[in-house]
Each structure stands twice: as structure tokens, then as C-alpha cells.
């Protein structure tokens, strides 16, 4: 029995709560643009992160999670990946990996954290500042278009059913990118469940799902399980 159908049967036994504001599932499609900025060593990386566009920081942190949505663990952001494999600096890679995009509601603050992490490391390890990386870091950015989906939810059953059917890009848009849009340490799903369905606990549990130890498909499954448990 699918989670949605189980949820459906259980919800049908309860009075249906209808949202005042339906949830419209949207997605975002991105086109990667090549930027001129490159970094051949860690000092250059620091300088380039300081001066690159916000789109670029977004591409290499938030967006890369969508591009690599199928990776369960071991890939946090492009900067950490480069530090490990091109620069052979595992300690720095670990510190950069620990930068969790869910903590940030603006690219500005995310950029500051990245720079702080790099600067601290280079201060303690000045001998690696100029060491040439195995290959340069190529900065990119992305242009996006919002794409509507046919899915709209006016109650919890419809919400769960839609969640089963949307693609991972839609998941990324509502669950990960939403933080920047909302400027809140939350996501579209949790906010709707809280504000429209009164499901504060479920909303909180969903917001706590660790995106770095599971795939986006795994995130979907966990959300569905939380919803199933909520109506049980």
C-alpha cells in the first residue's frame, strides 16, 4: 500500500481540513552559465568567492545539491569537493562541507561564512595558499525559469499525492531553495502545513530532515512517512 493511499484512507476517516490557500507545486529549471572567474589555488579561491556574483555562490552551493541530488553523502558543495580532490586539503574540505545551506537565508551571509572558513584555514596553513591545484576551479552561475506543475493541493491528501508525483527539481525548489525566497530557515512544505493545516509538529519534523545524508528521493520518502505518521 502506498503511503499516499494509506494516508488517503486514514484521512478519509477524519474531517477533511481544507486550506484557505492551496499549495501550488512549482519547479525551477536552470541553465548553467560559465563565468570568467577561475581559481588555481586557495588564495585565488578566497579572492574569487569574495568578488563573484551571488548567482555564482548560489550555483556552487544550493544548486549543486539539485544537480547531484542522487548522492546520498559525500557531496556538500563544489568548493568542498574542489578542496578535497584538486587541492588535496581534506581538513579544509571537511570544514567547507560543514557549511549547511539550511542555516542561511541570504547568499550574502552564506558567502561570508565560506570566506571566514577559508580565511581561518589559510591563516593556520599559510604554506598552502599558493599551492597550485591539480585543476582550476571554474566559477559558474545559473539562470532559472520557474515552471508550474499541474499539481495543486487543497488538503493533506492532495498534498501527499502530489508529493509522490512531483520531480526532484520541484522538491529542490520548495524544500531547499525556498529558504532564500522566504528568507526564513524553513521551507515551503513546512510553512504550508503549519499555516494551512495546523500541523506544527509535522512541519517541524520535515524542516529537520537532513538533506546532506540522503538523496532528494530520500527526502521525499521521509516527508511522506512523516505525513503518514501524522494522520495515523
Amino acid at each position: 500500500m502506498s503511503v499516499a493511499s494509506g494516508t488517503d484512507e486514514q484521512v478519509q476517516r477524519l474531517p477533511v481540513r481544507w486550506a484557505k490557500t492551496p499549495f501550488y507545486f512549482n519547479s525551477a529549471e536552470h541553465l548553467v552559465r560559465l563565468e570568467q572567474a577561475r581559481a588555481g589555488n586557495l588564495r585565488e579561491l578566497h579572492a574569487a568567492i569574495a568578488s563573484c556574483s551571488e548567482d555564482s555562490v548560489f550555483q556552487h552551493t544550493f544548486r549543486t545539491l539539485q544537480e547531484h541530488h542522487f548522492i546520498r553523502e559525500g557531496y556538500s558543495n563544489d568548493f568542498a569537493q574542489w578542496a578535497y580532490f584538486a587541492c588535496n586539503e581534506p581538513a579544509l574540505a571537511e570544514q567547507l562541507s560543514a557549511v549547511d545551506v539550511r542555516e542561511f537565508t541570504s547568499i550574502r551571509s552564506l558567502r561570508e561564512r565560506l570566506l571566514e572558513t577559508l580565511a581561518d584555514y589559510l591563516k593556520r596553513n599559510s604554506d598552502v595558499r599558493e599551492r597550485t591545484a591539480r585543476e582550476p576551479f571554474y566559477f559558474c552561475s545559473s539562470s532559472a525559469m520557474i515552471v508550474p506543475t499541474p499539481f495543486v493541493a487543497r488538503n493533506l491528501t492532495e498534498f501527499a499525492k502530489a508529493l509522490e508525483r512531483i520531480n526532484v527539481h520541484c522538491l529542490h525548489y520548495h524544500f531547499i531553495e525556498a529558504r532564500l525566497r522566504l528568507q526564513l530557515k524553513s521551507n515551503d512544505f513546512s510553512l504550508w502545513l503549519q499555516q494551512q493545516m495546523g500541523l506544527n509538529q509535522a512541519a517541524d519534523l520535515i524542516n529537520r530532515i537532513d538533506i546532506y545524508t540522503t538523496t532528494l528521493q530520500g527526502v521525499r520518502n521521509r516527508i511522506l512517512r512523516i505525513l503518514e505518521t501524522t494522520v495515523a
Binding site: S27, A28, E29, H30, L31, V32, R33, L34, Q36, D55, E67, H68, H69, F70, I71, G74, Y75, Q81, F85, E135, Y138, C140, S141, S142, S143, A144, M145, I146, V147, P148, T149, P150, R165, I166, N167, H169, C170
Partner: protein, 452 residues
Amino acid sequence: MQPDRHEHESGTSQRKRPLTGSGRRPPVSTDAMPAVERRQTPRVRSPISDIPKPIKLEDYGAVIGVAELDELRFLAQGLRGKGLQVVNPPMFTDGGKGVVKRLVSLLQELDVPARIVVPEIVNDEQLLGDLSAAVADESLAGQKRLKDAVLAQSDSHAKGMNLDEPFVVIHDLPYAGVVKPKSRNQSWIWRCSFDLSQPGSSNWSWLKPILERYDAAVFSSQRFAPALSIAQYLFYPCIDPLSEVNKSLDPGYVQQVCERFGIDRSRPVITQIASFGAANETAGVIQSYQQAKRDVDCQLVLVNSGDGHATDTATLSEAKAAAERDPDIILVETRSASEINALQRVSTIVVHMPSSELSGLPIAEAMWKGKAVIGSAVGVIPNHIIHKITGFLVHSVDDCATQIRHLLQHRDIAEQLGHNAREHVKENFLITSSVKRWLLLFQILSGKPARS
């Protein structure tokens, strides 16, 4: 974008010897070793039906999901009726032409009227067929030759081609000079399929101003892009999951292919599919296999597939000699897309060790089959292989041998790499992703609001 495979059956193997009861082939004496022989056994029936059903956009729904198809339809909405002309040089490989043709047909299904234009080359076809080398040539003679060749094409064709649709895509250099001055009614896009990251300075002085007349440029890898003042986008070369070389195969056919080439499926199979030669490090792959085999049992299948590089006869001789000494080295000659498909599917590990790589299609094909892939860290390959996540990037023969040994002794890791590899291709390297990128680019160039 580039190579697909030809559609005919011509596979031969170095030899066909029966398996012993142990499943291992008996040692072969040099005196008894036949030369590369034509296939004597009945032709293996290809799984291709006599009249292939035309592939439609909706057929990709089974691969990428209906939601993705809906997104493509949405992205195409604002472009309906806006024509696209794609100018291809005639020296494109048949595979490259096939990919562009499929791309155009999918766009047409989305009501974007697209057509391919293939003008003649008026001079110096050989030069224009090897663009990376031509552009990098610093000599004055080389510069003059390339400039004359490119400008001759544009002078000859500029007026005759009637490139007047809202979107015009020019592939590579031969016709790069036909670009018209910027206008509101047209968007010109230059699609570069080679490495332009280090153009010779003398060539760059005349080429750069031409390229900067375009509205956008597209490259296969961030590593290939030069410094240009126009917008540059990243479009990975993509594979068609429904083509002969990538589609699902009947298990019976796969087994027949193995039996014909003498591949023992009960034992690990390391495969390289590339023309034999230094460009593809054939000798290095054999060495890696030999090193790994000291610790783990395996077979090496070397498929001479005609991937655009000429077969090096010296390398072929060395490979034959190695195969004669080792019954677990199997040499295969084939251009058949179905046979290549089958050989990729029975592999435990696929190795691809070129000295340069512009398209990455052999890698993408193997990854699409969920195989653990080991590739040299050159060209576009690092975009396909995220080290230790979707495969292994290596920098030497020794490194390759180590990774082969590691994967054969940790099959769970190989399986996870293969799983990730397929997902990575599904997300980034399928032709439907290419269609999406083109639609997004057309939307952006049309001035549609793109959120950054």
C-alpha cells in the same frame, strides 16, 4: 554533440575457443593461434526490428518521467512558431549528425520549427575537420590557412544560406563568420564542440571579434571555454537513451553476443570500447589489466569500435600479441551499436583512458548502463566522473590498475558507483536535458524573465 553508433553488424573476435569445464579457456599455443578470423558461425540476429518505429517525444516519458516531459512542453510554449536553423558542417560524424537530427525532431514535436542546414565546404576540409589543432597552431602559416578557410566559407555562403529565422545555431568554425550584426529579431548562438581554452594568440586576434558578434556561445565543458565578452553556457554532450547503443536489450541477445565473442559472464569483465591506439591508451589499459590480474581474476575485452580515431597498427599488433599470450584478453572488432550496447552491459568495469576527450559519450553510455567507470581525468570526463561518486578518475596506468583491483574486490562499491553513474547521466547527460537547455537558452535570448 556527437557520436552515436552505426547500425550494422560486423563484429569479429580475435578467436572463438570453447570453454573448458572449469569455465576457463585452455592455454593457447602460438602455433595453433589463428589470425583474426571472420565470423564463421551464423550471424547473430540483431534485436532491431525490420521497420524501426519512429521515436517520439512521449517515448522518453518512460525514461525521464511524465513530469519532465510536461516541463519541456511548458518551456517550449513561448517559442512555438519561432524558427530555428542549425548549421552543421558536413564533416560531422554520422553519429554527431544523428544526435543533432534527433534534437531537431524533438524540438519540432514541441512546435519549435527547426531545420538543419548543411552547406558545402568550399576549401580545406581537412583543416576544418581538426579544429583544436588548427586553432592552437601558432605559426603564421597555420594562422593564415585557418583564417582563409573560415573566411572563405563565410564569404561563399553568407548570402546564399538565408539564415533569417529567430534563432540560428552555428556549429564550430567552418561557418562561424556568417554571423550577422546583432539585431532584436534574431539570436545567433555559436556551438563549440572542441577545446578552445588555449587558442593560439595569432588566431585569436581575428577569431575573437567574430565570435563576439554572437549573442551567446555554448561549450561542452567549462575547461574548453576561452575568455569572451558574450554569455557562455555549459551544454554537456548528451546521449539518446532510446538509441540502439543505449536502449534495453533482450537478455538472450546479450548472451548470444557474449558467446560469439567468447566472453565468460561468470567472471569479471573489464572493457574498453575505443579505437586501438595511443590516443586511447590501449597499451596502458592492457598493462593496468595485467597488473590487476596478479591479484584478482578478470577478463579484458578490448573493443575496436571506430570512434573517430584511426586504428594504430602497431598498437593492434601489440594487442594481438598480448591476446595470444593471455586467453583472457579478448579483442573485438565491431561497429554494431547493438553489439557495443551488449558488451557494455556485460561489463563489470568499463575503462576509458583517452589522452583527450571532447564528448565523453563512451563514458556516458557505460554510465547509463549502471557500470562502474574508470576514466582518465582529461577533457569533459571530470564532468561525467565525480571521483569516488560516479566513478574513478585516474591519472596513470598504475592508478587504473589499483582502482580495477579495488572495485573487483569491493563489488558493493562498484555497484554504488554504477547506480550513481546512471542517476548522474539521467540528470545531466540525456538528450532530453539537451532539449531543455536549448529551450531555456532560447527563452533567455528572447528576453523572457529569467530568475537569477
